[in-house]
């Protein structure tokens, strides 16, 4: 053996190092392939940053919400549907984050590492939303900023989502950045909104009371119209817990809140799941509601908090989820609207599975709350407001330092065979029942009509 032959080991080592690097490169390229391929500069999938090589997005009835025709991304013909789906679909220009055309680009483009990009994606994304109902809700919001959402409280499937202000993706307003009417237009208020809750928060206080004050149903409170700083909407005189909730008596609920103390209200707030920032299956991150009280706060502050008028801010999505849990025996599934994605052959490449929202209200408490909210409607607001739908709910008229109050309505159908919960918030509008309640009523009645027929 020549001495030089031993030295060949160097070239063999060089080759081995190269092989190791090649294996690392393969691993890196294969494991990141999806991320790389879906970069918005990929001309196979995007045109000017718009995902054009993408399949259809359809609503629950198969109505096309977005599709690609001749290499161009198109949307539904109805301007109201286009506007009501702006936030859900995304604007494709990066202004609206979290639109499903971006977050579900993988499913829409049908990319997979084995076959690479599709020449023309035939994947469809199927939503649980009803486009016509969304458009109706959008119209009900009218010129007010706010949001309406309806979901199946047994499954978490959203059937209606609308958020205003919005715009028609085909006619983006030119003064969008200067006109105050369009302030916050890029945000879907259902997920990103935070509002003073007003009286809807009394449901949380009531939850705390049921769980912590044993004789709450036999107790009476006295309202002479004011209690210190707190002013009531009426002079209720002697009033029971149930009637206090029905008539939204501020004085009684402030007294209950003070009696409970900050800890118990915090506890109920967390039990209701309001403290959670959800990252739901639609790949949307929601804002968590905010409650800032502890034992060092004055009674007045705790009283204000108990009636939803302190520094508390509530996110509509988290409150809708809370309503679902109350309606559904204490448990709920995170509301979602992307049902499944299927490829050309109908094979599902994505399928949503209901995710437990983490809310766990005691079953007895939930049914007591359900009856309380039912009596709000039957004994106080009036069943006639909701037509054929047997509703439970609570209104809120959140007073603000300047401007008209935010109108809230949170509720659900009492009837198990029509298992829908609703949330409606109309900013700077006025009375909760008049604005939010009637908007919620229109949407729920329309949905009921569709379901019955």
């Amino acid at each position: 053996m020549r001495t030089i032959n031993k030295r060949i080991i160097l070239i063999v080592s060089v080759v081995m190092v190269f092989v190791i690097f090649t294996l690392l490169l393969m691993f890196s390229m294969f494991s990141n392939a999806q991320e790389y391929a879906l970069k918005s500069v990929n001309a196979h999938l995007y045109e000017n940053g718009v995902l054009t090589n993408a399949g259809e997005i359809v609503d629950i009835n198969g109505i096309k919400l977005a599709y690609t025709q001749n290499g161009e991304r198109k949307y539904n013909d109805n301007p109201a549907i286009r506007s009501s789906f702006l936030h859900i679909l995304g604007d494709n220009k990066g202004f609206i984050s979290g639109g499903i055309q971006d977050t579900f680009k993988n499913e829409l483009s049908g990319y997979n590492i084995v076959y690479g990009v599709n020449k023309e994606s035939k994947n469809t994304l199927n939503l649980t939303l009803d486009a016509e109902l969304c458009a109706l809700a959008y119209n009900e919001l009218g010129s007010y900023k706010g949001c309406i959402a309806v979901c199946n409280y047994k499954t978490g499937e959203l059937i209606c989502v609308a958020s205003t202000p919005s715009y028609d993706i085909y006619n983006k307003p030119e003064d969008i950045d200067s006109n105050p009417d369009y302030e916050g237009i890029y945000i879907n208020r259902l997920y990103g909104g935070l509002y003073t809750p007003g009286s809807v928060f009394k449901v949380v206080t009531a939850l705390a009371a049921i769980e912590n004050i044993d004789d709450i149903y036999s107790r009476t409170f006295y309202c002479d119209g004011t209690d210190g700083e707190i002013i009531c909407n009426d002079v209720h005189g002697e009033i029971s817990f149930k009637t206090a909730l029905n008539q939204s008596c501020n004085v009684a609920f402030a007294q209950i809140a003070v009696e409970l103390g900050a800890d118990k209200i915090n506890e109920a707030f967390n039990t209701a799941g309001l403290n959670i920032s959800y990252e739901n299956s639609d790949r949307i991150t929601t804002k968590a509601s905010i409650l800032n009280i502890n034992d060092s706060y004055s009674s007045a502050d705790i009283g204000w908090t108990g009636i939803g008028q302190s520094t508390t801010l509530v996110n509509p999505y988290s409150f809708l989820n809370f309503m679902c849990a109350v309606a559904n025996g204490g448990k709920s599934y995170e509301p979602y609207f992307v049902a499944f994605a299927a490829n050309e052959k109908g094979r599902r490449v994505y399928e949503a599975a209901p995710v437990d929202s983490g809310v766990a209200i005691n079953t007895t408490t939930a049914s007591l709350l359900k009856e309380l909210l039912r009596s709000d409607v039957s004994d106080y607001y009036g069943d006639y407001i909701f037509g054929d739908v047997i509703m439970c709910g609570k209104t809120g008229t959140a007073e603000r330092d300047n401007g008209l109050p935010h109108a809230w309505f949170a509720g659900f159908s009492y009837d198990d065979s029509f298992p829908y919960a609703v949330i409606a918030v109309l900013e700077n509008s006025g009375s909760g029942l008049k604005y939010a309640g009637s908007a919620a009523s229109v949407v729920m009645q329309e949905l009921h009509k569709k379901m019955v027929n």
């Binding site: 032959n5 030295r7 060949i8 070239i11 060089v14 790389y36 196979h44 690479g116």
Partner: protein, 427 residues
Amino acid sequence: METTKNKKLYFGRPGSMYGLISLLVMLFLTIYQVIMSYCVLSQDSENFSELLLYFASFIIAEWIYFFIFAIVQNRHISLEMIAFALSSISLFVTASVSPSKTQTQFVAIFIGLALYIAMVQYMKSTTRTGAIRVPMAVAAIGLLAFTLVFASYTNGAKNWIYIGPISIQPSEFVKLAFIYVGAATLDKIQSTKSLTAYVFFSVGCVGLLGLMSDFGTALIYFATFILIAFLRSGDIRTIVLVCTAAVIGAILILTLKSYILNRFASYRHIWEHMYDSGGYQQTRTLIYSASGGFFGVGIGNGHLRDIFAATEDLIFGLVCEELGMLTGFLIVITLVLLALAASYNAKFSRSSFFTIAACAAAGMIIVQTALNVFGVTDFLPLTGVTLPFVSRGGSSMICSWGLLAFLKAADSRSYPQLSKSGKRNRR
């Protein structure tokens, strides 16, 4: 002895499958090339007849080579089959991306093949290998110096010479001289004087390339120098010393001329430089490679071809996108096998000249492949070197065939008439 000498590799030798396997490989290769030809031709009616001529000529030439060297002369031609396969990919890609440049690529492959045959023939004799080393060294240095003086900057490096319509990259041809001179010098006289002379020659070559700002090629030369020096001396300390000196030298140059460093500033940060020249090519390479998936989007359907230097520096990405990542990595694996086969055969070569030359050539191929493939994928800084046999470029193609000749010459089976037993001479 007489009977074993005439052992037939291909036909008439009982028990040997080699001939049959070679024939099958040739058939598969031809089928692949016919399919590729069809795919390219079906997309280009304008240049149909011209391209058809090139493709058909290539396939016919392959079979003529197979007939003459394998069947008539009874030689192993595995290395050539690999080179034919890779060269044909470069021909198809060039024809598909820039049809007007196919002619050059086609001619370059044939010049490369002719050079290969000539070099293998020349190295048949072990006695004359040392004869032309001094004039070759002088010519190599002269050519690089000439390039430095007369070339103009092309894409940041001063490495192209234009003679009428022909443009050549002298540093590619000097690669062959560099290996030849290195192997021949150290083979002949193991004196300090000749070693010193070779060190000066190497420093000259690497220095001139550095001055041309062709850092990728300079690095390839340097790595090859290290390989040759180690194969000759076997002294790991000297190698460490040389590398340390080189690193210090590089740091010194980079400190003095910090603008050079800016060229590599985006290394490992390419996604932050997606829209500027720092990371544009690398990010597109990764994006479009991924887009191809394992099987590719099909030749002609890619988008990386629209990016600058797609068929040269970015060829790996282009192959991954259009022909699939499996093909891309298969090419890399093929080059690895080429290098491993060379280092194995080098053990049984006729003299240490062939061992050194083959190992140096194999090392050069691997280092260049590493700089190319890992450069465009951001594993290493992007230096802009070609992928042997596959990148478009005449000089690079001819040099690749020249390097292959060193691998071939080290394999004792390449010269069956010289071998007494017809078997490998195990020493």
